[in-house]
Symmetry: C2
Subunit: 417 residues, 2 copies
């Protein structure tokens, strides 16, 4: 059976007009992870949004959505969260980027150190890529070694040493990277042999959240194994929590299984959408961190740090993660039940608060695209191949509304089969 | 004669208490270009500020300053500029980082294309380093070549391929960089020979603004020469306007001498302190730009783009640069006259709106530090070894107030000689 999905695209008049304007002044019209064109997302997805509030988004044509992308992670306490925005506004009115930091930087660092179990210190930046890259530089400075082990396919940022596309990337950019397979300790050991005594760091995400694939939890044995190997070979264990930070466990994603990294990279949800990133680390990496030169024009700006303080205060309450788990479970269970009823084999993977969906089907990607297309036309933003995100601002009502829409979306999927 | 400067340090009680708190949770207490300790700035400089308004700053101990650092560049239209902040606030209340960009991104790109003479398109990021690094990736993608020529000492960002400290940096990070000497065309030609047919780009700042040195304008012959060489060898000419953007000439720093780069990196003043960076380029680099993968969690956020639109509207008026030139000239001339009167040989270099000061003295650095220390205790923030920044928010009153203070600072300098 072949999916016929050509009939489902809708026309968004204002969005379409904006795309026509954009293509003239922005290469390709849009770039990076929020672009829609080129098969990145189903055709009915808008490229341009106008506003967000709580867990709802509106596109430029006025359509309202229950959103399960959360800006691809940054939104964790609701779009335009009044409490966080009020704290940020107080700072904004006093000036953001001054000649030096304000006390907000210290408060944010203290709160991170108090929240994240292994954190003895923190430094701040702007992008997730800043944080992962800085962690690697710190590891190299501390160890005096150069090789970095990363999981095959794993995304750790858009710098030349990590970015998934090789256009504009040189061989030298990747010269010190050796790949292993996630959850395969033997492959890590082989990579360490290849590093030949020159191992600076092993970097890993708390679970495998590659696109176009089922999400895969870290085996406890794997997590403990890379911790032990990093220690044995005098290398840093870097946990990349840019995507997972404060959604799994504010104390650190692997705290529940007793595995503590040396360095953790945070960004996305750290300040509920205000541009901020952080590296936190253990005492033994403090001195090396003082010896590297990293900075950015806006890294000491007070507004995002004040927003982070308020965001962390909200996220430290167990209620925040509990809400995300509960509602993500409700969404995942609901989708599974609907799929079964409609005769579709739907795989929901990953932690409930960062669930991903995939159709077991001969045209798996096409089914996912058709389903997400049908859902967005009914007011629900799901992603066909990237993990989704719950937030502490989602409500039972949001999930119910979403599931009512997805039931119709499954019916449409049945019809186009 | 030896400068005795031990007696000049003042105690800032709240600042000092904050430093004690910070050292526990931030490696070294502070990092990067806004740190004060370790000989970076004279001892009387506060590490922590509390607020800014217009061209004035207040430290956490309540001292008020006329500021000539402007947050090291970002502030170009006044701290907490009401007009820009109002535009940003409208967007903040509608949500900042959504699932995709808002129309603000298109407006900002259109305005850049309309303002910067060589710009046919724009892409946005968060750090100046993002912009310079992205420009290099674009150049490599477009040319299929790898080598990058940069001026010796020149700062183009804090990524491993540029950062001034080598701690944590590997040989591979610098493998494709060849250095030339600013304003020395023969050295560029020699570097091109060394690139041996594999030249991707030449990057340059519009004028030489290295720290601890007199600022040096680009010779017209040099600027035209590297433009001609880049074209001849099929490489990109990248202008790094991260520091200079919109302070020299909003059309492009070299527009007045008829030299147009292929790619320009902007950041700092682009949105008056809201975290934003941009690369703009000519048509022939558009396709390569669509083919690279660069992105960041907050790059499509609407608030900084709305701020940029308002900032650019202000800066496009010739009045903005005229004000900065006029007041920077008044400051520089005033300092020169005072120095002469007090018997000091003071060198003021660079464009008036980005002036730098240096004492011709056997203990040049020490004299600069003592002078800046004396000035800040009298309510004026000058920098002893980094270029300073004027803004469109400075007034004649600010300059007069500053010069009254610096006259006293020179008198103190005389006394400690």
């Amino acid at each position: 059976m072949t999916l016929q999905t050509d009939n489902v695209q809708r026309i968004l008049a204002i969005d379409s007009a904006l795309r026509d304007r954009a293509i003239k002044v922005i290469p390709g019209g849009m770039y990076g992870h929020t672009r829609v064109h080129g098969g990145w997302l189903p055709p009915s997805f808008p490229q341009y949004y106008s506003r967000g509030a709580g867990a709802r988004l509106w596109d430029v044509d006025g359509n309202e959505y229950v959103d399960f992308l959360c800006g691809y992670g940054p939104m964790i306490a609701g779009y335009a969260n009044p409490e966080i925005d009020a704290a940020a506004k107080v700072r904004q009115e006093l000036g953001d980027v001054l000649d030096g930091p304000t006390a907000d930087m210290i408060e944010a660092a203290e709160l991170l150190v108090d929240t994240v179990a292994h954190a003895d210190w923190a430094v701040f930046a702007k992008n997730g890529t800043d944080a992962t890259s800085m962690a690697v530089v710190i590891a190299r400075a501390a160890t005096g070694k150069t090789k970095l082990l990363k999981a095959r396919v794993a995304y750790h940022g858009a710098n030349p040493w990590f970015t998934p596309l090789m256009s504009g990337v040189t061989q030298a950019d990747r010269a010190n990277i050796i790949e292993y397979d996630y959850n395969d300790l033997a492959s890590v050991e082989a990579a360490i042999q290849e590093a030949d005594g020159d191992l600076a760091a092993i970097i890993a995400t708390p679970f495998r959240h590659d696109g176009w694939a089922d999400q895969e939890f870290a085996d406890v044995e794997f997590a403990r194994g890379i911790r032990e190997l990093a220690t044995r070979y005098g290398a840093a264990l870097i946990l990349d929590e840019v995507r997972t930070g404060f959604r799994l466990d504010p104390r650190g994603a692997w705290e529940g299984i007793g595995v503590r990294p040396d360095l953790t990279a945070f960004s996305k949800a750290l300040a509920n959408g205000y541009a901020l990133a952080a590296v936190v680390g253990v005492e033994s990496f403090r001195e090396a961190t003082t010896g590297i030169y990293v900075t950015g024009s806006f890294w000491h700006g007070s507004v995002s740090l004040a927003a982070a303080v308020k965001t962390l205060e909200i996220l430290r309450s167990p209620e925040a993660v509990e809400t995300m788990v509960e509602l993500g479970t409700m969404l995942g269970d609901g989708l599974r039940a609907q799929a079964k009823e409609h005769g579709w084999d739907l795989v929901i993977s990953g932690p409930p608060q960062m669930l991903a969906l995939r159709f077991e089907h001969e045209e798996s990607a096409k089914a996912g695209f058709a389903f997400a297309d049908a859902a967005i036309r009914r007011g629900v933003i799901l992603h066909p191949w990237h993990n989704m995100f719950l937030s502490a601002a989602h409500t039972v009502n949001d999930i119910e509304r979403a599931l009512a829409a997805t039931d119709d979306a499954f019916a449409e999927l049945d019809a186009v089969m």
